[in-house]
Amino acid sequence: MAVSPKATDFFAASEAGAADHELQRKLESASARHLEHFAEVRDEFTPYENERATARAIKENALGRLDELIVELTEKLTDHDCKVFFAASADEAREYIVKLATQCGARHVVKGKSMTTEEIALNPALERAGIEVLETDLGEYIVQLRGEPPSHIITPAIHLSKEDIGELFHEKFRVSYTPEPEKLTAEARTRLRESFLRADFGITGVNFAIAETGTLVVVENEGNGRMSSTIPEVFVALMGIEKVIPKLSDLPHFLEILARTATGQKLTTYTNFLRGPRADGDLDGPREMHVVIIDNGRSAMLSDPVLRESLMCIRCGACLNVCPVYRHIGGHAYRSPYPGPIGSIVSPSLIGSSTAYLPFASTLCGACKDVCPVHIDIPRILLHLRWKETSSPAPPPWPHDAHRARAGARMFARLARYPRIIRFLGHIAAVLVKPFAENGWIGSMPPPFANWTKVRDFPAPRPGHPRPANSAGKSIRNGRS
């Protein structure tokens, strides 16, 4: 993989995020709210654990015969007069959609929420072609107004407070400042309504594609997905190959777990079933419906026995909400439309080498794996990707200090094969640093441990010098280390 010059941006961006306490406060309270809502609805209908297991089994089965299912889906969609385009890469998908929009003479595009359009960087390409693009999901609308990418796959404006949004609207729309969510929503709604009526081209993502019936399912809470897919004359749905599920009867299991884990709802407000353009006698619906099915690295993931599991993801965002790294650096730091734990395992395949560090930027704490509704073993995949990156012909160029730490670890691992030598070196190190220790801790260490003492003290090594037995309690009382 060619390494883009932006690769090391992650370090600077995550450093900025890690220093932003206000951001951390917002993310903490947003995720706490998420988790609270989830806990309330967890076992509301069918037992959650059963639904999880069933959903995973269905995905497992679907991934095993994805080729068949895609053919079946394509046939059914074509029967319903949809035009299906299969895009091997992001470039192909983007060019197809931009060309289509240009040929239709589109002037105003409205979009429902779609991370896949972020993956192919569609908006800037449409804008370059002189077409206005409007995000209609409220969160997406807000970040678009700020000229920012979304920072979370479910709640794109999670990094903003209601005060931030109040100020944004005041500045952009010249309305009087208010932090009241109801008023802000009403303002956005009025503006969005006008745009919907003007729109001539609609784009949305897809949550599930049912092969058996040729139905695309889009879930949302604001009705904007429904309007984006029915008002404009031309409608395009963009989906990754992994979104396909075999049967209509599989769908309820996914609707159950997605609503609960993504937003803590029993069911999302709108569940749209899109099957084709309007037929004779229909009162609404687009004149043309196009379905773009994109691979862009997915079939390579499918053929990797460990990575394959990541294609089961239903993009619920729960792993972001529980991830301590995400919560401390925010979504923008990841430099990928897919941030957080799921982003760290799919970005290297879907976005490219600029995200090669992401699998390393984890403590492997496993909170993501615990919460994932389809039980994706994210830590195991992170470990797999670390190994793949490390053994690739062009491993990512590490910043100097991180490189040094990695080289040190490798050296240690090689020496640790000889226990006597490594123990001897351990004793020498202890003697060397002893003068610098105070109460058992050292405030400043040379490389490769210098980064350690940037943020906390280092324990003075003392191999072979245990604290006296049974002193644990006494030493606490005497205040010794």
Binding site: R386, R406, A409, R410, P459, I476
Partner: protein
């Protein structure tokens, strides 16, 4: 069963040498003979976690050569136990004999508290420790080994102890092995939240079952000038 093997781990040997004796003492008091695994130094986790798989394989081979698959192997660390018990299965051993040996050893490897509670079925060890103690559950212990109750059950059986609750105690301390020095800013931000919550808890001692967490949390407490100590679980359970 009357004999077990004890592998004290590289971090414990270098930074918390009392862990080995404390663990051995606990096991001996239960009438077990303890054989120390000294011809291995490290399970290979640090190499494995960085993607250096051939180095990890070497260390795993060394570790497996040191132990007897017919006898339980006790490891006073959640993450090293996970490495051996779970992740050795992901190592591409090149010959069938080694693969078979790994398969035989993995289920014999127990993290200390799990061994005590699940295998030896004990909760009270006759330990005595006075002070306000906060237990920090290490991530691998909880989420890879699923030991959520065992350490607390054992701590509750210690006489004189006063257990205090740290808010969001299940959140990672930010250590993550080399993560702590590759991404010190993220690791430090996570740590500083952890330290704040520990200070709010009124704890005098933070107890954990992973030396990595003890280094991280202890280092954070020392940097913050807090008069709060870190101790390994085994030390508390061996104290009298």
């Amino acid at each position: 069963m009357n004999e077990v093997q004890l592998f004290s781990t590289c971090l414990a040997e270098e930074f918390f040498p009392e862990v080995e004796r404390a663990s051995a003492t606990i096991l001996q008091r239960l009438g077990l003979k303890v054989r120390l695994l000294k011809s291995a130094f490290c399970c290979g986790q640090v190499a494995f976690n960085e993607g250096f798989r051939s180095e990890a394989l070497d260390l795993a081979r060394r570790f497996m050569a040191a132990c007897d698959p017919a006898m339980p192997i006790i490891v006073p660390s959640g993450s090293c136990t996970s490495m051996i018990r779970i992740f050795y299965a992901d190592l591409p051993f090149e010959d069938a004999e080694l693969t078979a040996k790994a398969a035989a050893i993995r289920p014999q490897v127990y993290e200390l508290s799990q061994f005590l509670v699940r295998v030896m079925k004990v909760k009270r060890l006759g330990a005595r420790f006075e002070g306000a103690v906060a237990y920090h559950p290490s991530c691998h212990l909880m989420r890879e080994l699923n030991a959520r109750e065992e350490p607390m059950a054992l701590l509750s059986g210690v006489e004189g102890i006063r257990l205090v609750e740290v808010r969001d105690r299940e959140e990672c301390c930010g250590f993550g092995g080399l993560f702590s020095v590759k991404f010190p800013h993220i690791s430090g931000a996570m740590l500083s939240d952890k330290i704040d919550r520990i200070r709010q808890s009124g704890a005098q001692v933070v107890v954990s079952n992973d030396c990595g967490c003890l280094m991280q949390i202890g280092g954070g407490l020392s940097r913050a000038g807090a008069d709060i100590k870190v101790r390994h679980l085994a030390e508390i359970l061996a104290a009298r």
